[in-house]
């Protein structure tokens, strides 16, 4: 990230500094926290001149800072093979790597007063999904940082929801996932922070050898939502399947920035990120696949697609490849457009009314991200997307 020229502190930045100074002691903040905040303060709220934030200028967008109040956290239930603590693991504050770093990661960690530390034992197969909910009170600002460790050969599903009632507020939450060797892990993240809500969050994923990891991000509400996902392949033979769905209407701004780091050979990754945009909504997808010099035989494919329902929506996409190994297969694709008239014609010619035909096509577009998912989970989240579509196309 490029360091910046001289800048003046914005009122929001000043408010954060004052809050940190005032509450630091009460929160038990030590030298490490101060160092985190100092790092944030050196850069401040990222703005469009920082490449990773080109489309989401927080300096402009975040004008006020809400009064702090901790998240009300509902932790996953403990069971055989699953240990859960309502506490902040030091890793949640310290872990940084390319794709998971920068002022917002530091800001979230500096203030984090809640968090979940959970681990799934090696070899454990957890059949019921582990569920965590971070509920932010209306109009408040909350920070949390969580760590989940999945032991070797573990099989589990984790569903995290960050929610807030309509009416604003700021939720800031980071999740670290340490996925061991030969595991089979599914992670679903649902951001539903209501009208007027702001969410800034990050997901740091490290994958062990032969790990099979699947992730789905669903953003169904929130005025300003930015998610940074960093996925690092540490052991060969691993496979990452990362998907996302932005559903945005009115003047919402949803940004997902993804960094996939193929650091070792023989791994494969698939990325599929979709956006359905109505009114004046804006969707941003920035994805980058890095294939390091030793990561031969990497197989990476990234796809981003935006479907526009209104002529005032905006879709920005930046799918990047950075490749340093010669024996790899990497590709990306990106499409932006509206509902295909020929499909619409096909359905209408068969007697389906226009609105229904449109709804059918949009839901077919959006629901692709749930393909091959566990049926109950797919039904649960396609329900979220169907509900949104019904409100916008009904």
């Amino acid at each position: 990230m490029t360091m910046q020229i001289a800048r003046t502190e914005t009122p929001a930045e000043r408010a954060l500094a004052e809050d940190f100074a005032a509450r630091g002691k009460a929160l038990g903040h030590d030298a490490a926290r101060s160092a985190l905040f100092e790092r944030f303060r050196n850069i401040g709220l990222p703005h469009r001149r920082i490449e990773e934030w080109k489309y989401t200028d927080l300096r402009m967008k975040v004008r006020d800072i809400a009064t702090p109040a901790p998240f009300s956290v509902s932790t996953p239930a403990e069971s055989k093979g699953v240990r859960v603590e309502n506490s902040i693991d030091p890793i949640a504050l310290e872990e940084r790597f390319t794709g998971f770093e920068g002022p917002i990661v530091d800001l979230i960690a500096a203030f984090a007063d809640t968090g979940i530390s959970a681990s799934v034992e090696a070899g454990a197969t957890i059949s019921d999904p582990l569920r965590a909910v971070y509920a932010q009170a209306q109009g408040k600002r909350s920070h949390a940082a969580s760590v989940y460790r999945f032991g070797d050969r573990a099989q589990a599903t984790l569903v995290e929801t960050v929610n807030a009632p309509d009416g604003g507020g700021q939720s800031l939450q980071n999740t670290h996932l340490h996925v061991g060797d030969d595991t089979n892990i599914t992670y679903i993240r649902h951001i539903d922070v209501g009208a007027g809500g702001t969410h800034l969050g990050g997901v740091a994923v490290t994958l062990g050898q032969n790990a099979s990891f699947r992730m789905l991000l669903v953003v169904s509400s929130g005025d300003l939502v930015r998610t940074d996902i960093g996925c690092r392949f540490l052991g060969s033979g691993a496979n990452g399947d990362l998907r996302g769905l932005h559903l945005a209407g009115s003047s919402r701004h949803v940004d997902t920035t993804l960094f996939v780091d193929h650091a070792v050979p023989d791994c494969s990754s698939r990325e599929l990120f979709k956006a359905v945009l109505d009114d004046e909504a804006r969707s941003v997808f920035q994805g980058k696949i890095l294939v390091r010099p030793d990561a031969q035989k990497t197989d990476g494919k990234m796809m981003s697609q935006a479907l526009m329902l209104s002529d005032t929506a905006e879709a920005d996409s930046k799918p990047e490849l950075e490749i340093y190994a010669d024996d790899v297969q990497c590709g990306h694709g990106s499409t932006t457009g509206q509902i295909d008239d020929t499909y619409l014609f096909y359905l209408m010619a068969r007697g389906v009314p226009r609105r229904e035909a449109q709804a059918m096509l949009v839901s077919a577009f959006a629901n692709e991200v749930f393909d091959d998912f566990d049926e109950t989970l797919a039904a649960e989240f396609s329900g979220v997307s169907e509900g949104w579509l019904a409100r916008h196309l009904g």
Partner: protein, 489 residues
């Protein structure tokens, strides 16, 4: 899949240590003092006998440049350029506006002969009927000679050096210069606006199809000299012109700077084809020397149904920073960008295009092929954007990259921005997606997918390549013949 043997051999044949054009011409030169200041800007302007408004234009740009910072966003690493350690003007001494070829220094003529550039009108590409090319030869800071001027004038086409155009056609220069790339555009364009010394000027009047290919051949010869040329091409309503550009430089241990600006303007129903074979000295095996090539090229499809197409074959330069762009302002206008960028040794390429859709029913196509070998870095960086009023904008982009060896890098950085519901943008980075029906047609007739892709990519660029002077053509064909096998996104 790794690169096939044939490809490796072909790329190594054009490796940096095989640079053919690295000789120097011993010739007396007239130089401005080293460094850059207002006095140097005045010196250049005076040398060119420029009108007062032009000097003011330059000084404005220079003052603005002083406040600007070098762009650092590109994936390029090089030591800081000392802008005070360069000569901003160098011209062959004997060159006092020669009226004909006989008056040109024979040493210069020999140089162009060695480079294979035809300066004698009657001898143009002997044996190739009808393939005549008019050449503007730019040596360091000045245009040495422009061929076929009389014949072009018969058709009403103006083809001359930009300094001459400023004297002979001030109204055209004043109207169009800086209208596509304003003096404040970017660090290097602003520097160019202050110190540009020569370049080509083309005006094709209404309804005229330019009777021959136009071309400019740029040669940097002097040590420690920067070359700052400026090209301005205007195709008036219904006009057509095809323009070629070639460049070479001697082998030197020091890096040399080349910062050009090219502006194209296509009015209603006009078409401009602009082709570049860029073969500046790339530096040696250890990465010593070579040209720093910072170029701003932009075409403005100002009129309805206008078309601008950029074709580039990039093999030279230590550093390439270049994004030939199209502003699709007129309704139904079309922009195209075909590029082959091959980097070897320690070369670094950061190149691509911008397609800015502003008008209705505009379309653009981007085909880019990057091949990296040695320890080079090859980046495609492109922007496709649709303005809110760009109804029915269409874009198709395809970028292929190929790595030869495991010490080089190939990168793709596309920006896709759509503010219009009816805009359809497709970006593909796989070889199988050129156009399914074309592929089907070829494969169905027994061609392998490889051959079919090569054939189609060739087809896109062939009509331009065939018009290139023989010397370019052979080289370019060789580059394009490189197999696509082992392509990555």
């Amino acid at each position: 899949m790794p690169a096939v043997r044939e490809t490796v051999d072909q790329v190594s044949e054009i490796d940096v240590d095989k640079y053919k054009y690295g000789f120097t011409t011993a010739i007396e030169v007239d130089k401005a003092p080293k460094g850059l200041s207002e006095d140097i800007v005045r010196f250049i302007s005076a040398k060119k006998n420029e009108p007062e408004w032009m000097l003011e234009w330059r000084l404005d740009a220079y003052r603005r440049w002083l406040t600007m910072k070098e762009p650092e966003w590109a994936k390029l690493h090089y030591p800081k350029i000392d802008f005070q350690n360069l000569y901003y003007y160098a011209a062959p001494k004997s060159q006092a506006a020669p009226k004909s070829l006989e008056e040109v220094d024979p040493e210069l003529l020999r140089t162009y002969e060695k480079l294979g550039i035809p300066l004698k009108e009657q001898e143009v590409l002997a044996g190739v009927e009808g393939a005549r090319v008019a050449v503007d030869a730019v040596f360091d800071s000045v245009s040495v000679v422009t061929t076929f001027k009389k014949e072009l004038a018969k058709a009403g086409v103006i083809f001359c050096s930009i300094s001459e155009a400023m004297r002979e056609h001030p109204e055209l220069v004043r109207k169009y210069l800086g209208s596509v790339v304003p003096p404040s555009d970017n660090f290097y364009a602003t520097l160019n606006s202050a110190v540009f010394s020569d370049g080509s000027f083309v005006y094709v009047p209404k309804g005229v199809r330019c009777p021959m290919e136009l071309s400019t051949y740029f040669r940097i010869n002097e040590k420690d000299t920067g070359q700052f040329e400026r090209t301005l091409i205007i195709a008036d309503e219904g006009a057509y012109v095809s323009y070629l550009e070639g460049c070479t430089a001697p082998m030197r241990d020091e890096n040399q700077l080349h910062a050009a600006v090219v502006e194209l303007i296509a009015l209603d129903d006009a078409e401009i084809k602009y082709s570049t074979v860029q073969n500046w000295y790339p530096g040696d095996k250890e990465g010593k020397g070579g040209i720093y090539n910072f170029v701003t090229k932009r075409g403005d499809c100002r009129g309805r149904n206008s078309k601008i197409s950029w074709t580039q074959v990039e093999t030279g330069s230590a550093i390439t920073w270049k994004y030939p762009s199209c502003i699709l302002r007129g309704d139904n206008s079309r922009g195209e960008f075909y590029s082959i960028a091959i980097s070897n040794g320690h070369q670094q390429v950061d190149s691509g295009t911008k397609m800015i859709h502003l008008g209705k029913n505009t379309s653009s196509r981007i085909i880019s092929k990057g091949i990296a070998a040695g320890v080079s870095q090859n980046t495609y960086r492109g922007l496709v954007s649709a303005h809110a009023k760009a109804t029915n904008a269409r874009n198709f982009t395809q970028c292929d990259s190929l790595l030869i060896g495991d010490r080089c890098g190939a990168h793709t950085v596309p920006y896709i921005e759509s503010k219009n519901i009816s805009a359809t943008f497709e970006h593909e980075a796989t070889t199988s997606k050129i156009s399914d029906d074309q592929m089907f047609y070829c494969t169905q007739r027994g061609l392998s997918e490889e051959e079919a892709v090569a054939l189609i990519v060739n087809g896109f660029v062939r009509d331009v390549i065939q018009q290139l002077p023989m010397e370019f053509m052979v080289e370019t064909q060789k580059l394009i013949g490189i197999s696509l096998e082992g392509s990555v996104g």
